[in-house]
Symmetry: C2
Subunit: 396 residues, 2 copies
């Protein structure tokens, strides 16, 4: 029979980054392309012990169906943590456990956007979210990024111009792909504009706790007196992405609909996985682990800076990120960025071209993205050396 | 701000069965309402050992990001099993691991149905699937169920009449809620009709391996020479629903789109959970476990028959299911079914009214559904006694 797909998925294709990743691995290219945490950052022994304990002590709870909104003790623990961290009272907000933050983001598109409704995003931004939005035929409008967050004039123009703007999607901390952090001033301004133009904000914060330098900046959720911020949190970068546990912290009036939509999607997030996270959070376990991880990543980021200085010097420019997983490097105009990435891959290191993260990936970019969390120190040293050699070859 | 939800989820409400379930539990009503496996059926010790072993031996694999289509060794093992069971060659088909069969069913609606496209279902059928279909604004057309499967004349009429029929959704084995099994003749006829009218079949088979009496009937997938059958499988009823591992076994030409859609939904199913299922399947572990579970459920189903005979005799009629989790009982016309369920709940036992499973739940039904897997033997005895007393009170 003839193949037929729904319009919403016609254009959905495997992301370019996954195609690049197939060329990396043992004996192949060094992977600066993924967004994976370091394998050394996983609390493997603790998770092994906890999972064994949970299955011995509460086997039925861990293996039976659970509630769609999530395992109650975990929800309560995260609510308490969010209240402490952001000063948000539990009264107006609720919390739904999701199968990774990606599911929360996808459900926001599903429950808020009719076909053709608008989602405003930073440009460039996380490909996975762009795909989730596209899969509901949202009209995605990208706002140019600056080093301190999106351009506020262009944001306001878009809010004036576009019809049915359902939410503004931002990654304020150590953004993917840029590594840039939104200033406090811009966070307040985004919030004001959302209130003024009667729309929601989807604040995606997978990297917020991975700060290695500088001071924390208050989350947009912490200003949320009007109950318009949907906050997506994740344990993927702090415990394990493979466990697929994230959450949506959102105004109460949206929680029931999100839980029902989640029920129609996958019934609930696996109980064992939620219980592992719940146990791991207790007694400062998560906080202590994050401290160790940050210390490791701080070293890797510093090494990345040092190697970039040594091998590329003034040939590339970048804003030094204070946390997260990425450094976004800008090539001078006379170097073709796509060609540079291709030659680097031939040389043995995989990086992702900056335009892959644009709402319109045909838009030109001089940037490429380096992930520094996943490679070993040796790979960082060797990989950036190759990036320097590739530059010199093309420059010469 | 004013609340706004997308049209596709406007009518999505928590299912009635979940509201009933809130009234059950320790010190409350006996739960004949859920579709839960028996807590005694979980291989808790084995899962505890396997999870510990996996996290000790392959911590990075278990905790890192994994591929959206699923963990390769598990996919291969299931493909081999499906080939052996259904005689389907791997050549034309592929297999995507999903977060429970529900996710596979939801993704079928997402990737095949535009708003208003038609899905034909058995009527009554599984509420969860009806919700997933509704959440993509499908035009769901229910076909009256008979004891041996849906009415084939009405099915053909619908296929002639309806535009853009994307797939026919069936649960051929021990259907939910009816417990009825589609005859081989009707399985072949559904397949012929799907070919004739150029549509797909979504064969949902969560209960297929839970047969306690009689002989297996070949799956529709086993006739699939034309590559039109999407087969949804699950480990929820054979290992654990809490782990959320299921799969879609589907013609190759649809697999890439489903994997990309899954990527946009939750990236991938948790690796640890997939690896647990993979280990558990080895060396006939799953097959041996299913044998034990079937032996237990056979006893529970026989007890249910005996108690129904003792306490309700000819007052209710039902087709004896040969497997699965449900008995669907029909009350005589002079007893109001909704009132009967309410009085049974007051008496201390929760059953679900049959109309809850209709495409149009305002349609009248004389049926109620009993789940016999989850209650203990004592609860089955006491619960059915209450059902008998409730009948006598209303009949008197």
């Amino acid at each position: 029979m003839n193949m037929h797909f729904a319009d919403r998925v016609q254009k959905l294709e495997p992301a370019a980054v996954y195609e690049i990743l197939k060329k990396t691995g043992p004996g192949k290219a060094i992977a600066f392309a993924a967004g994976n945490p370091s394998p050394a950052a996983f609390p493997a022994e603790e998770v092994a012990e906890l999972s064994h304990k949970i299955l011995k002590e509460h086997p039925v709870l861990a293996l039976q169906y659970g509630p769609s909104e999530g395992y109650a003790p975990l929800r309560e623990q995260i609510i308490a943590y969010q209240a402490e961290r952001f000063g948000i009272s539990g009264k107006d907000n609720d919390l739904i456990i999701t199968s990774g933050a990606t599911q929360g983001i996808e459900l926001c598109a599903k429950i808020f956007c009719n076909d053709g409704d608008t989602i405003i995003t930073e440009n460039p931004t996380f490909i996975g979210s762009l795909n989730s939005f596209a899969s509901y035929r949202a009209n995605v409008v990208g706002i140019d990024m600056e080093f301190d967050g999106m351009n506020m004039d262009k944001l306001e123009e878009a809010l004036k111009r576009e019809k049915n703007v359902r939410f503004i999607y931002v990654i304020p901390n150590f953004q993917n792909p840029s590594g840039w952090t939104m200033s406090l001033e811009k966070r307040k301004r985004v919030y004001e504009l959302a209130v003024k133009y009667n729309t929601l904000i989807l604040e995606d914060d997978p990297y917020g706790r991975l700060r290695y330098f500088g001071e924390n900046i208050p989350s947009i959720k912490s200003f949320d007196t009007e109950n318009i911020v949907l906050y997506a949190g994740s344990f993927s970068k702090t415990i394990s992405p493979g466990l697929r546990v994230g959450f949506m912290h959102l105004p109460k009036q949206y929680a029931t609909k999100m839980a029902v939509a989640k029920q129609a999607s996958d019934v609930h997030t696996p109980m064992l996985n939620q219980m592992i996270v719940n146990e791991f959070m207790k007694d400062n376990g998560l906080a202590n682990h994050i401290e160790k991880v940050c210390s490791m990543y701080r070293g890797k980021l510093q090494l990345t800076f040092d190697m970039l200085e040594k091998h590329l010097g003034d040939n590339v420019s970048y804003v030094k990120p204070e946390g997260g997983l990425y450094v976004f490097c800008r090539l001078p105009e006379h170097i073709d960025m796509i060609d540079y990435c291709a030659q680097a891959l031939d040389g043995g290191v995989a990086i992702v071209w900056g335009n892959a993260f644009f709402v319109d990936p045909t838009q030109k970019s001089q940037y490429f993205r380096i992930n520094f969390s996943s490679p070993s120190d040796e790979q960082l040293e060797r990989g950036i050396e190759i990036l320097g050699q590739t530059f010199n070859k093309m420059n010469g």
